[in-house]
């Protein structure tokens, strides 16, 4: 178990280095001078420009800049962005908001997706199954941003059930509407995965055994069918958490959520290399840790799985 975790963490290192290097290089190649952009249409003295450039190491070659970034990252000192704000502080402001949004969306898709999927899978071909299947296809086919606008218009503006935009006061309640929009597409995938997996497992021999030895139907469904059907679903959910955090740019834009997506969008427009790469590093870490947790969950779901051969 410990060896498995260590081996997985060792595999993370090249992926982490590769991703940050790729993003850092692309940001390095972005046109425009961020220092000149700081001053707008005024022309600062050359000495000021030189000082600022050396302060942010912009006068160094690419490899030195990347090395300094890595060094800073491992000493937990992310430095300042080009407006002089500490990057760590602004990340601490935006990440909790997006994490709340992503966790709420993940919870919605996991709970409703698995519940609907189990009911549909148990009675395959029934009216509930057919309805849910068609509905899930429609949800997959409509792009998130169209759903976002429609939900905002209907539930936010016309019915007034929720606030149309989130703004500064982001909490579980105000984030509910954007979380539903963010989670809907993956909800459809979770539902279809669960349904397929449940309907495949419900005729397995161990299910017949469990029924034959007199277990109640809920116990057979929850402890035997569902538990054995969850592995593909959990795999999908784990891979999806990273996508939810990084892919929330559209949803955050529509509902004006002050989260990672908004921050990233502004940072790219301002060519703020250090901010972009810091955000990406955290996102990659989230992605990797979520996938590791999923791998560890496998053993709990299916005790036959052993990590050390």
């Amino acid at each position: 178990m410990i060896r498995f975790i260590l081996r997985r963490l060792l595999q993370v290192i090249p992926v982490f280095l590769g991703t940050t290097l790729l993003v850092y290089y692309m940001v390095f190649a972005l046109p425009g001078d961020p220092i000149a952009a700081l001053f707008g249409d005024r022309q600062p003295p050359q000495a000021v420009i030189d000082t600022l450039r050396s302060q942010y190491h912009l006068d160094q070659p690419f490899w030195v800049q990347y090395g300094l970034f890595l060094k800073n990252l491992f000493t937990f000192n992310l430095g300042n962005d080009f407006t002089g704000q500490p990057i760590a502080a602004s990340l601490a402001r935006v990440f909790p908001v997006t994490a709340m949004l992503a966790i709420e969306a993940l919870a919605i898709q996991a709970i409703f997706g698995v519940a609907f999927g189990v009911f549909a899978g148990l009675r395959r071909g029934g009216w509930f199954d057919s309805t849910v299947l068609v509905a899930s296809l429609v949800v997959i086919a409509v792009p998130t941003f169209v759903l976002g606008f429609v939900f905002q218009l209907v539930f936010g503006v016309q019915l007034g059930w929720a606030k149309p935009t989130v703004g500064a006061n982001a909490n579980w309640g105000t984030l509910l509407l954007p979380a539903i929009v963010l989670g809907l597409v993956s909800f459809a995938y979770v539902l279809r995965l669960t349904r397929a997996s449940v309907s495949e497992n419900m005729n397995a021999d161990y299910v017949r055994t469990a029924t034959a030895k007199g277990l109640s139907r809920p116990r057979v469904v929850l402890a035997h069918i569902l538990r054995n059907s969850l592995i593909p679903v959990v795999t999908y959910l784990g891979a999806n958490l990273g996508g939810l955090m990084g892919g929330a740019i559209v949803t955050e834009g529509i509902f004006n959520v002050p989260g990672v997506g908004n921050k990233l969008y502004q940072a790219v427009l301002r060519s703020e290399g250090p901010t972009i790469v810091s955000i990406v590093s955290v996102l990659v870490l989230v992605f990797v840790v979520a996938n590791l947790l999923v791998d560890l969950l496998y053993a709990w779901l299916d005790p036959r799985i052993r990590y050390d051969q």
Partner: protein, 314 residues
């Protein structure tokens, strides 16, 4: 392995059961593909989606057949957000252009982004996945890590940065969007291919081909890959829909197709201004997009069912 193993028939002169044998020995057994095709032809889901896709392709190739209104000329600000009139069944956009004509003319860009991206992803993903799965060892490990690097990057983020690069900033086109999507989507295809190739590579017929003197690479091309195609084709049909949505998302954010190219994504983005007053303007291109994506998902579902050996026994 399906077609070669499951239809094994003992040599005729050796079996006394020839008369009662259910398998017709004078006829070549149906291959996986012929069997799937026979199944598909009878599925209403497949027929509907195939007809829809055919119609979309005709619209994309010959938009002039369906509307005589030019999409960009004749836009009058006086018609801004105008209601439908004779000859303009869907009304007018914020800029006073004909919505129906723009939806028809937008088909081409959206479909070509989807098709070209799937082609690129197939070329890159199948090559890398097949090499990784077939040769294994350190090649597999290196290619898997390479795939992880691109897999961990969120699409929108990478697209934001890539489209700002000097190379793409000045001359954005359909190819820019195809490049971004393919760059980030190939690892998925590579993983599926790798799994399918690993499943097939140790089959008896591959060993047989190798012992008959077929080179290792020749066996991969002629025996392993054709038998690993099923999951690849299913994923490709599903991803076509996903890529069309991705193009719309990028265009919506202003980092996809340039404004000069008509696409459903650009139309939806342009309709934002009218969402509170005339939401229909957004709903028409969005509906066109959803119908397209739906057709490809249904096609993928039907093909998967037809190719799945488990479902044929029922």
């Amino acid at each position: 392995m399906t077609s070669n193993n499951s239809h094994f028939v003992a040599p005729i002169e050796e079996t006394p059961l020839q008369a009662t044998d259910a398998v017709k020995t004078d006829q070549a057994p149906l291959s996986l593909w012929a069997d799937a095709w026979r199944k598909l032809r009878r599925r209403p889901l497949f027929i509907i989606s195939a007809l829809l896709i055919l119609a979309l392709i005709v619209i994309a190739l010959f938009p002039g057949l369906f509307t005589s209104t030019p999409p960009n000329e004749g836009c009058e600000l006086g018609n801004s957000e105008g209601a439908p009139t004779a000859g303009h069944p869907f009304g007018f956009t914020f800029q006073g252009c004909d919505v129906y004509s723009r939806v028809i003319h937008g088909t081409q860009a959206s479909l070509s982004v989807g098709l070209l991206s799937v082609l690129c992803v197939l070329v890159i993903g199948v090559t890398i996945g097949a090499i990784a799965g077939y040769y294994g060892g350190w090649i597999d490990a290196v290619l898997a890590r390479l795939g992880d690097i691109f897999f961990a990057l969120p699409l929108v983020l990478a697209a934001l940065v890539i489209t700002q690069l000097p190379l793409f900033r000045e001359n954005k086109s359909v190819w820019t969007v195809v490049f971004v999507i393919s760059l980030l989507a190939w690892p998925q295809m590579a993983r599926i291919t790798r799994g399918a190739v690993i499943e097939v590579r140790n089959s008896d017929f591959v060993t047989a081909a190798r012992s008959l003197g077929v080179s290792k690479f020749g066996a991969l091309i002629r025996h392993v890959l054709p038998n690993a195609l099923a999951p690849i084709i299913v994923l490709a049909t599903l991803e076509l829909g996903v890529f069309i949505v991705a193009e719309a998302t990028l265009s919506f954010l202003g980092i996809g197709l340039p404004q000069s190219i008509m696409s459903w994504g650009n139309d939806i983005a342009g309709a934002q201004a009218s969402i509170r007053t005339r939401p229909e303007i957004m709903l028409y291109p969005a509906a066109a997009l959803s119908i397209t994506v739906l057709s490809f998902i249904m096609l993928g579902d039907a093909v998967r069912d037809a190719l799945d050996p488990k479902s044929r026994q029922r």
